[in-house]
């Protein structure tokens, strides 16, 4: 079982949403997960409807109750008292952390070099800015480094502090580069602390402890990016987990219906049926009759989309990774929706 889940995918496909749902799904009774974001966008805070996250791990939710138990408890628990529920077992907990490269660097300097004031001077000079926004690789070392530290961290009893760490990661186009910090940095820093740090990070990222999951939609570009991304990750020796197909839509017409529509034989029968349902006259020019063309047109568009989605689905299956599906929530993703997605993920087995 991997403990570091890296969630990537094309921009806008639902990385942040899926990462959050996964962190919830993994927070089964008695377990604790950490959800981290690395792009400084406060996407997690928005999703959980809380204030901006500081650079500090804090509890933001409890995991959904397992199937059969009552609905989830208070979604936003304040820190303090463990909620004891169902059978006296401790509810799973989700912690969150927005990793900030600049803070991570300053902490790091402080920790290893006691560079308190020099760190501030570096900052004034723009060196920190340079290291965290401009210099290639260094930023990624810091961000992945912090996540890996959380993965490896143990409490005083020698147990892992987090059962799983879920990262809302950069998009597919940048993910391999982002995770392959070693390659990036190896060409730059051949010795020294940055070099050592990169090595330590890579040991975690290339181990079975890590799994990169890619979120996609059933559309051409995201699917293409997913296929390319998997190939790149594999080539870099980074373990790939599963593919999450997000925002799927139920098929409202079955194949038989679509065939009838394609054959254009349905017109008068449908007109009668519409009319029977109280939608006006079925004869030529009657109200029901006038509805038919636009309704059939919509059905043809639907059929075309279903066809396209089927092809993309086949393409994804051919990659040969486990797939998970999450439906499009018609009203968008609010907190309740997020728990819904978490339960849907859980139902689909271990990820």
């Amino acid at each position: 079982m991997s403990r570091l889940h890296v969630v990537s995918g094309k921009g806008g496909t639902g990385k942040t949403t899926v990462a959050a749902a996964l962190a919830l799904a993994l927070a089964t009774e008695g377990r604790r997960t950490l959800l981290v974001e690395v792009e400084g966008r406060q996407g997690i805070a928005q999703l959980f409807e809380t204030e901006a996250l500081p650079y500090e791990e804090r509890k933001i939710a409890v995991g959904p109750a397992s199937e059969g138990a009552s609905r989830w408890g208070s979604s936003r628990t304040e820190s303090g008292g463990d909620p004891l529920r169902g059978g006296g077992r401790r509810a799973g907990e989700v912690y969150a952390l927005a990793i900030d490269a600049e803070r991570a660097l300053l902490d790091y300097l402080q920790m290893f070099y006691k560079l308190g004031s020099a760190g501030r001077a570096l900052k004034k000079l723009g060196a920190i800015d340079f290291a965290t926004t401009i210099a290639p690789g260094l930023r990624d070392v810091l961000l992945t480094g912090k996540a890996c530290e959380a993965v490896r961290r143990k409490d005083k009893n020698g147990r892992f502090v987090y059962d799983a760490v879920v990262m809302d990661a950069p998009p597919t186009g940048r993910i391999t580069r982002f995770l392959n910090v070693n390659d990036e940095v190896a060409g730059l820093a051949k010795i020294g602390p940055i070099h050592n740090q990169a090595q330590a990070v890579m040991r975690v990222l290339k181990s079975p402890e890590t799994a990169v999951h890619l979120v996609t939609l059933l559309e051409e570009m995201p699917v293409q990016e997913t296929a390319d991304g998997v190939a790149e990750l594999r080539a870099a020796g980074i373990p790939v987990g599963g593919i999450v197909i997000n925002m799927t839509r139920p098929a409202l017409l079955d194949n038989g219906d679509l065939d009838v529509i394609a054959a254009r034989g349905a017109r008068s029968g449908v007109a009668k049926a519409l009319s029977q349902a109280g939608l006006g006259g079925a004869r030529r020019g009657g109200l029901a009759d006038r509805l038919i063309d636009p309704l059939l047109e919509q059905a043809r568009e639907h059929a075309e989309r279903v066809e396209l989605e089927r092809a993309e689905h086949a393409e994804l299956t051919s990659i040969g990774l486990p797939t998970y599906e999450l439906e499009l929530l018609p009203e968008g993703v609010d907190l309740a929706g997020l728990y819904q997605l978490a339960r849907d993920l859980r139902k689909q087995g271990p990820i």
Partner: protein, 462 residues
């Protein structure tokens, strides 16, 4: 019965795309917007349309979908515009297109602005190699750089620029500034300190601090990385001024009256929020906004039938199926129609004329095709109605989001582009998008099967 959300109260000015691309004074169109909304598609579609309307156009695309790039003949990254075949050049226009290769663009700048030895030293520097392959912002910076080059060459009437996929449309404006501030910053000077020690007397104090800094940096980065960075910085030193000057020039180009920004957005909350930020930012930067392209909007040719009504009817049909499955005779039908007309459930504006003339036709005229059995027809009709209900819910949601934007920025001209059922990956698709861009529909208008516009479904309530 209410027909909620169907009122067209929000009245944004219409964006006249043809007027924009036909105007010889329009020299640059920049398509921006958040990730995945259709920037590349819009840029390419505008390019095709402008060329077929007689302008000599170049489109600078960034990461186009593979099939789209292939169909335009630009899948090879050679960093120069290629003439696009199969564009109708009858009106005297041409379309050239290219895909930005950012490393190549960066290398070309180096080669173009440093003598051969220095250029080689830079190109071989590991720090440069890593930098040019893409740190945050290189793509944005290089897109601007390329735009500057294309404009300077003065070969084209119209340059259409796509912008890099980024989470925020603002990155396009911010990234070059970030690079600029680094290039202008003190840190550069610290890095170059070893080369400049013994400079002016006034620098003395600073130099003490600097050598302490370089000591720290060396400890941190490892001596070799620091040396690489220093070599790189020293080698680039003479070019920095040039970078800066060109970035500033391009920035001014973006503010020029011949430039038009098009903000592309999907009718979704996040995308429109980004669009609103961007609109505000353009105003603050005094950059000319042409308008908003609302892409992938859904429409319906049967918008007079509300979601609730469609669902209720679907329900009735399914219930009827489980009872007896037989369709009633025509007597009931006419009664139903009369009821409808009396209570105004269905808006009659759309097709009254048709109904009037067709009224006299024989009721049997509809049965040219063998009808499926009533039960299967009822089931099919129920499916169609559910599909329609879903569509109407999407429509209503999109309209609400759009209205929120319009309320915030009533001054911004808008054009809506209907969603095509499939992806856009060839010239035909691009022409279709171009038509829709220019058609200037609002979500109440719909191209139906025949490509004609149905009437305005604006609804005065009932």
């Amino acid at each position: 019965m209410t027909s909620d959300d169907m009122t067209l109260d929000a009245s944004a000015p219409r964006l006249e795309v043809d007027a924009l691309i036909d105007d010889p004074r329009t020299r640059i169109v920049v398509c921006c917007g958040s990730g995945g909304v259709g920037k590349t598609t819009t840029a390419a579609a505008l390019g095709v349309r402008a060329a077929e309307r007689g302008r000599k156009v170049v489109v600078l695309t960034i990461d186009p979908a593979r099939r789209l790039a292939q169909s335009m003949g630009i899948s090879e990254l050679d960093n120069v515009p290629r003439r696009v075949k199969d564009v109708d050049e009858a009106a005297g226009g041409e379309l050239h297109a290219m895909m930005l290769d950012m490393k190549r663009t960066f290398d070309e700048i180096v080669e173009g602005h440093a003598d051969a030895d220095r250029a080689r030293a830079i190109l071989e520097n590991p720090f440069y190699q890593s930098l040019s392959a893409g740190f945050a912002g290189t793509q944005e910076y290089m897109a601007m750089e390329k735009l500057g080059q294309l404009r300077a060459s003065d070969e084209w009437d119209l340059i259409i620029v796509d912008t890099p996929p980024s989470r925020s449309a603002l990155d396009f404006l911010d990234a070059p500034k970030r690079l600029g501030s680094f290039l202008d910053g003190k840190f550069i000077r610290v890095l170059m300190a070893p080369a400049k020690v013994g400079g002016r007397a006034g620098m003395k104090f600073l130099n003490v601090g600097m050598s302490m800094m370089t000591g720290t940096l060396s400890k941190l980065m490892g001596g070799q990385l620091l040396r690489d960075v220093q070599t790189f910085v020293a080698a680039m030193d003479t070019m920095f001024g040039g970078f800066r000057t060109r970035a500033d020039a391009t920035y001014r180009l973006l503010q020029a009256p011949g430039t038009a920004f098009l903000v592309v957005a999907a009718p979704e909350r996040d995308a429109l929020r980004e669009a609103a930020y961007f609109v505000e930012r353009l105003a603050a930067e005094q950059m000319p906004l042409a308008g908003l392209v609302l892409n992938r909007v859904h429409g319906s040719g049967a918008a007079q039938l509300s979601a609730e009504r469609a669902l209720a009817a679907a329900e009735a049909l399914t219930d009827g199926l489980s009872e007896d499955g037989a369709a009633d005779g025509d007597a009931g039908t006419d009664r139903a129609e009369n009821n409808l007309e009396a209570t105004g459930i269905v808006d009659l504006d759309g097709g009254n004329a048709g109904a009037g003339t067709a009224g006299g036709l024989s009721p049997a005229a509809a049965a040219e095709h063998p009808a499926p059995t009533s039960a299967s027809a009822a089931q099919l009709a129920a499916g169609l109605l559910r599909l329609h209900a879903e569509r109407m819910q999407v429509l209503a949601r999109e309209r609400r989001t759009r209205d929120r934007f319009t309320a915030l920025h009533p001054e911004v001209p808008v054009t809506e582009v209907g969603a095509l059922p499939g992806d856009v990956h060839d010239l035909t698709g691009l022409r279709e998008i171009g038509d829709r861009l220019a058609l200037n529909g609002t979500s109440a208008d719909d191209t139906d099967t025949d490509g004609t516009l149905t009437g305005d479904h604006s609804d005065s309530g009932s």
